[in-house]
Symmetry: C2
Subunit: 376 residues, 2 copies
Amino acid sequence: MENEPLLMLPGPVPIPMTVRAAMTRQAINHRGNEFGRIYAECTRMLRPLFGTKNEIFVLSGSGTAAMEAAVANFGEGRAIASLVNGKFGERLYRIAKRYGNAREIGSEWGEPLDIAGLERSLEEGTEVVTLVHNETSAGIRNPAEEVGRLTSKYGALLIMDGITSIGGDLVEADRWHVDVAFVGSQKCLAAPAGLSAISVSPRAWKMLCEDRPYYLDLDAYRKSASKNPMETPYTPAVPLFLALHEALIVIEKEGLTQRIERHRRLARAVRAATEAWGLALYPKIDGLHEYSNTVTAIEIPERVKDKDLRGMVKKLGIEIAGGQDRLKERIFRIGHMGAVGAPEMLSTLSAVEFSLRRAGFGVKGNGVQAACEMLV
Amino acid sequence: MENEPLLMLPGPVPIPMTVRAAMTRQAINHRGNEFGRIYAECTRMLRPLFGTKNEIFVLSGSGTAAMEAAVANFGEGRAIASLVNGKFGERLYRIAKRYGNAREIGSEWGEPLDIAGLERSLEEGTEVVTLVHNETSAGIRNPAEEVGRLTSKYGALLIMDGITSIGGDLVEADRWHVDVAFVGSQKCLAAPAGLSAISVSPRAWKMLCEDRPYYLDLDAYRKSASKNPMETPYTPAVPLFLALHEALIVIEKEGLTQRIERHRRLARAVRAATEAWGLALYPKIDGLHEYSNTVTAIEIPERVKDKDLRGMVKKLGIEIAGGQDRLKERIFRIGHMGAVGAPEMLSTLSAVEFSLRRAGFGVKGNGVQAACEMLV
């Protein structure tokens, strides 16, 4: 207890104390051996979370910076198809329009991606595809493996946003034929906000664009990373690197398999509570698309006001997320990513159950007890 | 003493403990009241350091990100003249070439800018001028006021890099007709690396380009900053904002006038020591151009090896900087920016004096005692 609200959001998430404490040390020279070693260890520990053997770079910028880096370095002037079924898919599409000749392959938010539409666009010569693996805005996990099968079949480059899946759910970038993947620090890694990491396949390097941005020029990152000691091309956010390093040690100690299973268990617990309460999960899943394992999106029942629901939860010291943009006041979202476990989940579900009642919803059954069944 | 080397570099610099400690608190929601208040207070406390009444935004990216934001948002497709007399002037010119129709108005590193050449280019229709106020690579302070007089006379936009002057030396952006200015967090502000802040004049807003980058889109920053609570468009590097906020409180407590005078006093002390030793300052100053007050560049005497000199200083626990690129092994640089005072300066100069001797240089006089004269 630190009298801070418990953040059960799809990022930012609670940060372990050892990770925060890593930032208190005095400034170090980012052109020295120690920083080089920390950066190198970060990339080594990140690789298994991405499921890749590719080069990984840590950018001093949040997830959106990595999105832009991916599209700007590999999509400039190219035919890009953006798969969209939520806010972050839309964001990638917007960036794609800025740099390339982009088309949207859109679905309603939270509905399955248009895989047939993707295949048609690949037949018509799409060179680069953008995909959000875990679409937090709608709580849906998109079929990265299936998309990778198609892009690989047609020889297109696959850019995958793994911002809220890498480190929390299974990601196998290499096996899935993902060429460029990226993650944000303040999501499943449970590190502070402000960094992102991006992996680049040899095939992607061959497609590196001539006319790249400056701060996000991945070729400059690559050149600096090949130095000894390893460097970043421009001044890095040193304390955030120190914290990320510590967060990755925490992850390595837990073990990736155990960590993914913990996220899935928490997700099952929220879904069990949702069902017990008589509420509906928002996303429409099918055999390929699944509920997210790192955030759960739940429909707000009729007559319940988002403000009342989340306001009461906040009074109990817990922040959950509302819907964004077109889903505002239609859904609420519980994040279960990073370092949280059963205690945080049970207090959250208890507060939600109470707040649903207070907001006038006739809760059907005991969601918290149903969740416990999933957590033991 | 923390058994960390004392960083007497032109950034990163030692960070006060209260500033580092600010980062240890638990993650906060960056879409909430508290973050909004912290961001707003940062911009309020930054304004006097910039000498501006303009809007200021804090970017989650280091100084180079701010350089690119300035040029990309206001220079895309335009006729840009880049004043260059050092590494960072060159960097701005490179970025200018990426986005606009850029020409270099170059001098040798550390020599006065070609002010006559600037006026000719303004006569010929230059729309945007880039300037580095304090060129750390060569230890020279460029005449921002004079450049602003000319850009204002010809109606051109002035972009000024104040990365290593703002917060340490006098900057009067508004009075000097600077339209866009920016600072880095890890320099004179004595905050951790990873943030930059940028100010934008009403005249610059009128010249905002259509085709802007995404992560560094200043119009998006402006829209988010106008919300209540104040926000950033994308996830900010929250711990760095907390640290910057604390660093600005430290500055406010010291008082800007006192802080600038302290930096100037330290600069005079290094120059007095340099003269006493019989060494030469690197930059060529004239009536308009001055020695930098935040970093001093000193010529390495013949027969002394950079490696021996800085290596021995490092053995005494202090890091000073070498020359960059074409000035490698030709100069060494002592940073005196941020929170450092007489104790750090005296230990640094003592170590340099000892190392010069050890490296075989016949030191003429007692530089440390000469420095003391300037510091009392």
